[in-house]
Subunit: 503 residues, 2 copies
Amino acid sequence: MNKEHETAYERLKDRLASISDLSSANALLFWDRQTYMPEGGVAGRAEQMATLSRLAHEMFTDAETGRLLGSSGDPDPSSEKGALLRRVRRDHKRAIRLPAELVAEITRTTTLAEPAWVKAREESDWALFAPHLEKIVRLQREATEHLGYDDHPYDALLDGYEPGARKAQLETMFEELKGDMVPLVRAVAGRAKEEDRAALLHGTFTEAEQEEFGKVVINAFGYDWERGRQDRSVHPFCINFGPGDVRITTRFDKGWLAPALFGTMHETGHALYEQGINQGYARTPLGGGTSMGVHESQSRLWENLVGRSRPFWSHYYPKLQDTFPEALSGIDLEAFYRAINVLEPSSIRVEADEVTYNLHILLRFELEVALIEDELPILDLPAAWNAKMKEYLGITPESDAEGVLQDVHWSNGLFGYFPTYTIGNVLSVQFFDEAIKQRPEIPAEMKEGKFSTLHTWLRENIYRHGSRYDPDELIERVTGRSLVTAPYLRYLKNKFDELYDLD
Amino acid sequence: MNKEHETAYERLKDRLASISDLSSANALLFWDRQTYMPEGGVAGRAEQMATLSRLAHEMFTDAETGRLLGSSGDPDPSSEKGALLRRVRRDHKRAIRLPAELVAEITRTTTLAEPAWVKAREESDWALFAPHLEKIVRLQREATEHLGYDDHPYDALLDGYEPGARKAQLETMFEELKGDMVPLVRAVAGRAKEEDRAALLHGTFTEAEQEEFGKVVINAFGYDWERGRQDRSVHPFCINFGPGDVRITTRFDKGWLAPALFGTMHETGHALYEQGINQGYARTPLGGGTSMGVHESQSRLWENLVGRSRPFWSHYYPKLQDTFPEALSGIDLEAFYRAINVLEPSSIRVEADEVTYNLHILLRFELEVALIEDELPILDLPAAWNAKMKEYLGITPESDAEGVLQDVHWSNGLFGYFPTYTIGNVLSVQFFDEAIKQRPEIPAEMKEGKFSTLHTWLRENIYRHGSRYDPDELIERVTGRSLVTAPYLRYLKNKFDELYDLD
């Protein structure tokens, strides 16, 4: 870098640091709203969050940022500077391609759409939400034309969550998954026994003891409490305000262990990623996870590949029984393991098991593509939803509230986001297999309640890099190949064949 | 207002609303740091707060704000628009008079000075802090020259906390107070008996029950929990993010009732003021208390004139005894009342009684004036401090840690702030007397644990106006005259003459 480039780059970094500070402050406004804010704060908080978003957006898209980006030169793309500039230039291009008018119109529309969706779901009345969604889809289509794409408008949306991902690749991925999963689901249909669910569904589990047990587990995972904390919220999430403050939230249900138990592990997976990022990347665009899909791979890895595994529970189940002797003393490890791994189609995505979860996502992906292609009239969407539910899962939702109206995402204009959940599932196994290949002692350690080899491997290979590598580069770097479904399908087949005696 | 003025005024208000949002976000960053932030968040939080302060300051002092202020016309000064413009023009003038260089230098200096002060106090070593204070005082003097003043440079500093207040007025006020108080303190010296403190000092008071009792009390005061909440912090404070979210924090001491009990009432006094402001003033410069002194008058009114009074405790003491039967059953109302009103000189301001508190402030005021006049070398400050302690309170601090190093204020560059504490004390009685004059039923209601007449009167006459009136206008409007010490001195004389049989 010559002197002029150097100066521009440093000024750009200062500017990006201020933008990062605004985003962190906005994240705290969000965290507080979900955890502690009194009801009276709603209106003021909405104004505060809108102002901080607007200022950050203005600062990022104004002429000065463009000028500094243009004057920062072209350092070696494999260097940190090169990686930072590449990411910022891409984000900047996206940001300035969208006209301010359109951004404002999307904000206005989704601000009205979310409460309309809440009401529509409450009353299970599609007509209340349909006109809002109609407008949202129209604006999303408009956005794709401004953003630009090579093959398909859906790619332009996807790119905002999973840089480099393409609709065509996802179709291949889902085709492979569907080929194995639909038959698996059919084979298992009706085999899950009532008593399989009993262990988790019944009993009283005091909140304080659930919390304590969860803490013991995530301590063992390696969650750093000096750089984090745990609070309660209705919808659990992980959020951070820099690498030194990465928080999780949890929802507790006194009659049911699953939400807090697996929710805590899931959010901790996200948190370990953020806590593990090179601290030198703080306040830069490299200081966060590289994509939604890679992030989700880490929450799923800790939740499912660790938290729903035999090795994990062979160590922790006796401790869980000690914590809840009344509810669990009559349930042995095997019954418990079966209970937390029941495979059974249901209408609701967020309650789905490891297998059917992806079919819920597939359905949404296909419908989103059809909407963006303008091939599916909004009024036909509920019927299309139910038809796909029947086809993939063999069930029909009892109402639109339990069907097409169940998720908040579309009301917020999040098109192209759902597929990252399945990308995360697939990647979780691809990464986990690689970890075990390189460090074969991991499963034995898990049996002893130890996770430091796994955690260290993930930190060294994935976490510390933050957004330095794009998702496809990172996957290649870590596993020697791009995203593949085979390891994931093999994992599911082994696990559920054994659980349901399918062979 | 003509059309052009109208347009400029509306744009100015939008701009001020954004600045207010930045300040509210920064206030939340502060609240979180004092209550829940994990240790690892310190560095990132400092950056976030610095960035938000800087952006708010830049937006307030840039050319566009100046232009809009100049184009907004001169509406009737008694109208809300007139009041808003007057306040903003004054604040703007102050803000642009300080060169950015000087502001940055003050920030840098105080950022280093506070940890130096912490260390100096820990080791009771004046020499560690003296060079920092030397520089701070020099910068404060420099600031007064930029800010400008008519009579005395100290006025320029004072004006930042108490608009319109002048050093000469404060001297008169303190002269009047000193004339009565120093003799009173001497007359009482040594009369406070050991057992007078016993009721509060000894015993075990569980935190949960202290909290519950405090909640019952501030519920009765009228604190609105839908627009607020209570958390724990080492240094209690009241903070708000708009009128819909006004929070307090409390410190609990298991062996001593006073900090939580009176601290909660004190912070609630501040909170009732903020919760009571006309909600239409939200996100404008009228939407906060009009000055530090008037704010403090409300915290003191609820803490002292209500919370340390006989009528209040004749209702609440039986309930307090029920809450802590073991510690309090042997202590009657009279003994308790004496215990919470012990008059006794001590070294530490924050632990001082109602009378000697003001002498602590007087001492600081006189020393600040001498420093700003450059009449007192920093190295002589500890000796000057101790000499005044001897003269006003008859005691000598055991160390500089308990003397000149006890307060954080100077290390933060807060010169001109201390006097507002005594202004608050004096005003609390002037307002309270007026309330009782207009609504004579107030004391009888207090005996029944009812405060709605008092609260309503304060809201109607003081709270709802926010910053619409300057402090001197407000005092005149409410009490028919400017600040006077006579009611306050009469209150203290009556209370302590009776307590110590001085007549």
